[in-house]
């Protein structure tokens, strides 16, 4: 092997990389909050007794889960302008990620909701609670506790999947890496570093979610 590694050539591009990491983290954070919220709503709708609502949400979930993320992103960024809806790169990226995570988390959270013992719902009803009150105070907490690890994995997948958003010039970590290697012609070093950064982000994200889970759900449920 004649190749001599040179990571020092990356130093000049530190600000670009930092911007990329910040953008990836920001995209993931916003998409996670909105996507999980969408998932909670979607799961509530999909398990509701209002059949048309459950069907519409079911169609949305199947549509998103059975098409590629890249195509969804292109549809939003390149397709919607034909309807007069023009979004900035980051807006399109967030929207695509939210819609994508929303669909997957709907399915994940639905599984948690359906694992609720029927007796607990009956107990809530017997106390005079309304359906929405039972959902919020009785069902949702234990459901989220049960599916927290699965949801964490999905969010990591979405974070890693945000690299696809470089294709519409959203300036996240992969975009930064592409940019740098087109300037310094050191693709091995650049992508090696990008890989390490994604790995660190993923491990960090899992760690944060694990801590959050312990904070929120360490009570009662996990011991049960």
């Amino acid at each position: 092997m004649a190749y001599s590694f040179d990571f020092s050539s990356l130093l000049d591009y530190t600000p670009v990389l930092v911007d990329g990491v910040v953008t990836t983290v920001a995209l993931t954070a916003v998409s996670t909050v909105l996507g999980v919220a969408l998932g909670v709503g979607g799961a509530a709708a999909r398990t509701s007794t209002v059949k048309p609502l459950a069907l519409v949400v079911g169609a949305y979930v199947e549509l998103i889960r059975n098409t590629p993320f890249l195509v969804q992103l292109f549809f939003i960024f390149f397709g919607l302008p034909s309807l007069g809806i023009r979004l900035a790169e980051w807006q399109a990226a967030v929207l695509a990620m939210v819609i994508n995570l929303g669909a997957y988390s709907t399915e994940i959270i639905r599984a948690g909701i359906e694992a609720t013992p029927k007796g607990q719902i009956e107990a809530g009803a017997s106390l005079g609670m309304t359906g929405p009150q039972i959902f919020r105070y009785v069902v949702l907490g234990p459901a989220m506790a049960k599916i927290w690890p699965a949801l964490t994995s999905q969010i990591v997948i979405v974070m890693l999947g945000s690299s696809v958003c470089s294709q519409i010039a959203a300036e996240e970590l992969s975009f930064a890496a592409n940019f740098i290697q087109s300037r310094n012609f050191r693709p091995f070093e650049v992508y090696f570093l990008a890989t390490a950064l994604y790995l660190a982000l993923a491990v960090g994200l899992r760690w944060v979610f694990s801590l959050m889970g312990q904070r929120m759900f360490a009570k009662g449920v996990s011991r049960a």
């Binding site: 013992p117 007796g119 607990q120 009956e122 107990a123 809530g124 009803a125 017997s126 106390l127 005079g128 609670m129 309304t130 009150q133 105070y137 009785v138 907490g141 234990p142 506790a145 759900f217 009570k219 009662g220 449920v221 011991r223 049960a224």
Partner: protein, 249 residues
Amino acid sequence: MSPVKTPLVKLSAIRKSFGPVEVLKGVDMAVEEGQVVAMIGRSGSGKSTLLRSINGLERIDGGVIEVDGECVDPGQIDLRALRQKVGMVFQQFNLFPHLTAGENVMLALKVVKKQDKATTRAAAEAALAKVGLGHKFDAYPSQLSGGQQQRVAIARSLAMAPKVLLCDEITSALDPELVAEVLGVVRKLAEEGMTLILVTHEMRFAREVCDRLVFMHGGRIAEQGPPAELFDRPSTPELAQFIGMVEAR
């Protein structure tokens, strides 16, 4: 006490089918305030279904249920007014596992009765003290024995100040040594004048504590009356056989 009272709970011609199987074939029953009524019978006789229809957990196909002026018929959608007058305790306790004993009791006070924090806290402490668990306010259900969990469930119902408490085989899921502590609480409630309707297999308890026994058979009330009378002089062969079976155990 005046001899003529309108019953607190009145069931008229209650019918209920599960698919092709008719489990309640027109049941009439009345329970007056302060009465303690036990429903007995073989499994499948319809006693649990009847109990669960009183607070609308089972939707009846025909008939009318009246509880303290709240009326339920098959078309009824909003059962919340009724359910605030009817407490229910289940075989499987059904405590909310993510909430402490105290939070279990306070939840409905907060979200249904919209009471403020101090009031709910005081009510929950009083309810738990009443079942002998004042010191377990901050314990999670998983940290409590079955008997303690069931007593928390009773406290949770009582805190809502129901007019009548329904108990659906509340000792059936308990280890034998834990049955007494739960029945002790129920006995105390009966002595204090709480209106109770129980589905139970504890025949001795039913005999000692109840004012009236209702023997269900085949979706109908086959026989009812004071416990001593029913146990000593059953007038139907079904009841005689049922008593023979449970006493042989």
